[in-house]
Amino acid sequence: MKKMNNHIQFVLCCLVAGGMSLTDPAYAAMPEESVQQTEKMVTVSGVAYDAATRTPLAGVRVVAHGNSKYSVMTNETGAYTLNVPAFVTLLDLTAPGYNLVQMAVSEKAQEVFMHSEQFTDDYTSKVQVADVASTEDFSLSTALTIDQEIGTRLGGDLYSITRSGTPAMGSAMFIGGLNSLNANAQPLIILDGVYLDQQYGRDALHEGHYNNVLSAINVNDIAKVTVLKNATALYGTKGSNGVIIIDTKRSTSMATRIEANVMAGVELMPDRPSMMNASQYRMYASELIGSTGTELTKFKFLNEEPDYYYYHMYHNDTKWDEYVYREAITQNYSISVQGGDEVADYNLSLGYTGAESTLDFNNFSRMNLRFNTDIKLIGNLSTRFDVAYNYNTRNLRDDGIIEDFTAETILSPNFLALIKAPFLNPYRQDENGDVTTFVSGADDFAEGFGLNASWANPVAINKYGDAKNKNRLEYSMFNITIAPRYDFNSNLYATTLFYYALSNNNQRSFVPMTGTPTFYIDGVGSSTNRAAAFNAKQESLFSDTKIDWTHRNKAHYLNLVGGFRFTNDNYVSTAQEGHNTGNDKTPNVSGSLNFSDVGGADDTWRSFAYYANADYSYKYKYFVQGGLSMETTSRFGKDVKSGIKLAGVHWGLFPSLQTAWLVSSEDFFDREKLGINSLKLSAGYDASGNDDIAISASRTSLAANRFLNGSVGLVLNNIGNTGVQWETTHRFRVGLDLTEYNDILGLSLNFFKSYTNNLLTLKSLPEISGEDYYWSNDGSLENIGIDFGVRFKLLNRKNWKWEFGANATAYKNKITALPDGDYTTKIYGANVLTSVGRAAGVFYGYETDGVYATQQEAEEAGLTLVANTGEVTPFAAGDMKFVDHVADGVINEKDMVVIGDPNPDVYGNLYSSLSYKHFTLDMNFSYSYGNDIYNYQRSLLEGGSQFFNQTTALNRRWIAEGQQTDIPKATFGDPMGNARFSDRWIEDGSYLRLRSVTLSYELPVNSVWLQGLTVWATANNLFTLTNYLGSDPEVWAGNSVLYQGIDRGLTAQGRSVLMGIKINL
């Protein structure tokens, strides 16, 4: 066998080597000169106009597309005449200050209207065959991370959800629907040609926090972002969710250029729910106490005598949120210097970002350095050499609401600020009621009602949790890239890229004793405070070697690329925590603390891929792009059934075929008559994979299992599935792009349908294995959708220019097969249903129909609740009317139905760009329509079952027989489940948000030392139209698919106003 492998290796090597040594034998026989002499020539002519002034434009360069030797400039009258061979069907027209125009060759004289570069490009220098969107120039961006900006600009090309209002948390993004259930469904991110692992499923010490890897890049350093929505086969087992390519700035000319950006601004406090005031809450709380059936009558907070010793303590009217939120300052400074000489081109950039969060004590700061160079070595040998380093720090506190209130006490200041009793004061008072500087302790008024019915003082958490060794994150990333390249000739080059990155993530978390309750952790013990530390290191090696050959011959254009790619990643983390440190001055974790716990990961994964791509076009009218990659990774099992086996390992094969037809270049196409400048039809198919398989899913492994205090034993912890493999997404697409009316109207339309099979799903193991689940490839899903883009040049005058554009994507996701049938997953109290025939992530719960106003009404309905002890309790007046779908008189899980779908019907963005002379006003809207949100926060703030302060909606709660209302009675502990997961908490999450408005003014300077000066001001999130009752309709609970559309009360985005200056020297 070994011998045979060697044999195969040899053959493959020959193939690869043979491919590399190709020196166009087929075409060598036909030298270009001879072709030209015999070629039939045609004469094309026309006049180029400035589209704004409609005056002829001189100096426009007219070039045969792909054949730069046939070119001419327009004369003073804008006219041009050019002899081109008959196979030339497309001309490129370019002029400084104007966008590129591509025009089909015609025998008739043409009028061409050139649009100012202030407008969006209508054409790309290379005709796009696949569905691609891109954006560039981020110098005026106020985003702290690029994903946020991608959401703003390309919100129609991908579904983007801002994770929270915490600075630089970024966005979750999904392209073309949801292409996985349990594996990652977010796109692959490629930074300067290198895969950037997003660490999606990795731990974080603080609730509601995710260490956004993209926060390591300063947006000002980025030159261009490209979103590949299909044709991602070349990315093998990582391409199935689409690809985002981020290119940082490189020097493009030898001239030395300096760009400096300064930005500063303020973010206002976000919207918060309207909570009850002290007297409303006091009434609510006493009503709750009444519902407990307690015989106690004396409660300090209910004593209304002003000389009562505890009167002041329980007679305040505190707006707790004002103690935890604030207006936040953001600042960003960056400078880049680029230039070069015969030896090297370079771009050096340096930046600092400081961003406060509106939720106090969550500051973010970033220092970044990036040095990109292109060095000419000897002869045709050159290399790219890049180094980048960044260092982020954050203060952190828990954000949002935890899932399990029995696991730990509530520590997030923003949620505490909502639920704290308003009659309490964050600071202690003396006997006269005067407020002191000592912070108040945890609540004591509800003690006895529940095991842990005491909540922390958020002011204490902030104050006593604040130190460099307490609640802090440090994230650094260093990377270095070397990519030598050898140009054999102008058509053939080989390059190999080596990349190494080291990232370090150190986190500390500390819960102070002061102001927090002693918490009884079920099965563990009583915790007075907690210290935790987390350290993670990821080392990534990436190598990409390829050979690129381009050949043009008359009507034929061919580009062949072939290469191989290697990745190696190692992620090592350790996490430790301990409780009861004894005081707030020693936040260090040590083994001597109570309930100490350690955990960690040591994951290594590798992949190796071969890929090849061929781009062919005939006359630049017919385009074919074929790609194929084969990839193997360490995550696959040893007995994979799909793909091929070679060199002892299994390889996934991923083909792609994309075609396009520039119909407008056809002779029969009468562009003038139709008013269409260009029309392109395209169609394609590609397959790509997803190898986000649990690291050891394929292997039977043993791990340490805790036995008794301090002792551990080794046990089997996984039964490997040696057949586990990648998920495969097959994607079909047909598309249309056209521009009309002298490019005033641009339009694109794509239909796509994708099928994902071999879904990675947890499958039940037979009981005799002693383990519960294994990862298996079973089940499938599909997405069908349409994306649509339109842009209008509404106004194009000499001084006035106005463009308006809109993008929309609609998709329907459907699960088509599951191995073990339907199942629900409990997430933040929600039941998320995974069911064949439905979309991923749908909410499955009870339907409600108002509140029983009278006892008679309740009795007539005759519905009951049967506890799992068998106890039967009838619903009564003031309870919710749940719909008894299975009409058996009992409200139980059989009555659950699908009550919401977090997938939007349509999402996208709208933009407007209006300029007058040197002023530009840009507006970016984004919207989502038809998506449902489960408002977990509201279910707690309007549940009416705990001593949490409630929203003012609870003032409408049912209190008396006959009262017509939509809010049920308040009952401690909610025995009837009125606050259960039901359509009460499912809301329409549709919104239209004005994400940003930017007014900029470019000073008309033109001196030797100052080449440009732009001053600008941006307002973000000025308004949001939505019926959603939460603070922010962009909600995020986790990166995985099933966590979509759940509002766990993370810090909402506030309105912000920022101003900046961009200086070009």
């Binding site: 290594t604 193997t632 060199a647 039977t700 805790r706 008794l708 046990v715 002890t869």
Partner: protein, 610 residues
């Protein structure tokens, strides 16, 4: 250069993806060939045993007659109590047992028993430990599921897991493991010292006791007795403090010196140690099931049954003040009462200030399962205690026909087996042997431990100073020192009447003592109604006493279903179990006829998964 890279990468492909990790160990690269490896693995197996501790207790008790449902009982537990466990019930799933078995099988297949350290086959010790754990686990599982897939090789792949394996019944499992364990009966177990302050040896299942159990199930009573007895001998199994079962009674002060039975771990021969917190291992949740705690908000889902309460209530304590006077000092079984003083019965006065009945027993069960109470900070669940070994040994002896000896064990306790003058002899423990004579092996010549085996008879226990015909004991199923007889509902007066014909022993059974008024006016019996009963009657009578003592002594520890099932088997009468269980609601409730009928068919005793 590129060519080389390509070649190089291809050759390395297969190995290139054989990655390692410090957080997990991959099966293919794991060996067990040193004491350190095996220690690590044995502790791993023990950590998996923790995973079946709670369910062993629950499935053992809830199917018995000592506990019952209440209004807080959730369906999962209610289904066990009512013998109708549905497939959605978590206890229907036996994966946790196989987690133990698979890890045992893995260890047994991987361990290199030939490794010698200081010329000792050190890994053989662990090999025996793991074999015993596997046997115990299969026994527990077949007691619940009757017949289960029998696997002795590790399942290391999904393919293995999906194969079909033969089903073994309880009897098959006994046969297999008797043969499997016998070769290791003398293999010394390893000693890891203390783990979390618990002697590690207590965490291993003694092979002799497992053999005793299995022989008892197979009704090979002589062998059952033999292995129990050998174990006691080898381990010099002593009794705790002042008594075998109820300890701490001080006859001089009429006080119990605290109910140390509920607080001592010394009686535990073999335990499953549970972790103190979830962070340090698997914890027990039994306290929240059997006791009222903050976590269950005072609503424990399982109560002691009325049958158990009534049984406990009928127990009277007495001690013999002199040869003819018996003095009552309390009523009811002390093990059901935490604070006995409330119920103290003295000569002249009886304190009727009984609290609410439920409260009375609530306190008791809490004291057994409230982790901080019984086991302090050690949280073990008992598998073998001195009590249940004695009682099972008595059960075996009784069925062998030595019902008097069995009764004596029940009454007095027999502690260790010693060699006296080269012969095996059973000794009354020093603390309890006043007035008794030692037992010597019968037969001629020197008796070896293994060949000439002698079982003592009642006469070996007769105090030498007392004429047999005049001797009587006032006893009941709670056992005391000789001087401390206990009077109970099933009171039996024995005179150790020695007849010429072997087997014709007299029982003097005082029906009068069944009279509830006895508490007030009977301090000592004046008259004895003497009857002679046939031997099989005696066997059943003593067995009844043993079963009742098991109920009191080992209550709520998970033994009950097995005890009842075993006795029903001995008697070849499934209705024995059916009747007990159907009457668990006590005398004031009619027998649950539906349950009785159903349980009269042994197939219905089990969760049937086939």
């Amino acid at each position: 250069m590129v060519l080389c890279t390509v070649l190089g990468i291809f050759t390395a492909c297969e190995d290139m993806f054989d990655l390692t990790s410090s957080s997990v160990q991959y099966e293919g690269s794991h060996d067990i060939n040193s004491p350190a490896d095996s220690l690590y693995s044995v502790i791993g197996v023990l950590s998996k045993v923790q995973g079946i501790a709670d369910r062993t207790v629950l499935l053992g008790e809830l199917r018995g007659d000592l506990v019952d449902e209440n209004v807080n009982t959730e369906n999962d537990l209610r289904e066990i109590i009512n013998y109708n466990v549905s497939p959605s019930n978590p206890y229907y799933n036996y994966s946790d047992y196989y987690a133990v078995i698979n890890n045992c099988n893995y260890f047994l297949s991987k361990v290199d028993t030939t490794v010698l350290v200081s010329n000792q086959p050190v890994l053989l010790r662990e090999y025996a430990v793991v074999k015993a754990i596997r046997a115990w686990t299969y026994l527990q599982m077949t007691l619940v599921y009757r017949s289960v897939p029998f696997i002795t090789e590790p399942i290391l792949s999904v393919v293995d897991a999906e194969k079909d394996y033969p089903y073994y019944t309880f009897e098959d499992v006994c046969d297999y493991f008797i043969a499997d364990l016998l070769p290791y009966v003398d293999t010394e177990y390893p000693n890891y010292g203390e783990i979390n302050k618990i002697a590690s040896r207590k965490m291993f299942f003694p092979i002799r006791l497992l053999l005793g159990d299995m022989y008892l199930w197979k009704e090979d009573y002589a062998n059952a007795f033999r292995y129990y007895a050998e174990y006691m001998y080898n381990e010099e199994l002593g009794t705790v403090s002042n008594g075998v079962f109820v300890s701490g009674f001080n006859a001089n002060t009429n006080d119990f010196a605290g109910l140390s039975i509920f607080t001592s771990t010394d009686e535990n021969i073999c335990i499953i140690p549970m972790a103190e917190s979830k962070l340090s291992g698997t914890t027990t949740n039994l306290n929240n099931i059997f006791s009222s705690t903050d976590v269950n908000e005072g609503k424990r889902p399982i109560s002691p049954s009325y049958a158990w309460k009534e049984l406990a209530e009928k127990q009277d304590y007495a001690y013999e003040q002199n040869a003819t006077t018996i003095r009552h000092i309390a009523c009811g079984d002390a093990r059901a009462i935490r604070d006995y003083r409330l119920y103290e019965w003295t000569d002249d006065s009886y304190n009727p200030n009984l609290p609410d009945e439920e409260e009375w027993y609530r306190i008791n069960v809490e004291s057994k399962y409230l982790v901080n109470y019984k086991y302090r900070n050690r949280y073990p669940l008992p598998v073998y205690t001195i009590g249940n070994v004695y009682l099972r040994m008595a059960e075996a002896l009784n069925r062998m026909g030595d019902c008097e000896l069995a009764f004596t064990i029940l009454k007095d306790g027999v502690a260790s087996v010693r060699i006296v003058d080269g012969n095996i002899s059973f000794m009354i423990p020093t603390a309890e042997n006043t007035g008794y004579k030692g037992i010597h092996a019968r037969g001629s010549g020197a008796a070896g431990k293994n060949d000439e085996y002698h079982l003592p008879t009642y006469e070996d226990f007769v105090p030498s100073s007392v004429e047999p015909t005049q001797m009587y004991y006032v006893v009941n199923d709670t056992l005391y020192d000789a001087a401390q007889g206990i009077v109970g509902d099933t009171i039996v007066y024995f005179t150790l009447h020695h007849s010429e014909d072997e087997g014709d022993y007299g029982w003097y059974y005082d029906e009068e003592w069944r009279n509830p008024d006895r508490k007030k006016d009977k301090e000592s019996p004046d008259t004895l109604i003497m009857n002679v009963y046939p031997k099989n009657y005696l066997v059943e009578k003593v067995e009844d006493l043993i079963v009742d003592e098991m109920a009191l002594e080992t209550a709520f520890e998970g033994n009950r279903f097995a005890d009842l099932m075993r006795v029903a088997q001995h008697r070849n009468d499934p209705t024995y179990l059916a009747d007990k269980v159907a009457r668990r609601k006590g005398e004031n409730h009619p027998r649950n006829e539906e349950l009785f009928v159903r349980l009269s068919t042994p197939d219905n005793w089990f969760i049937n998964k086939e």
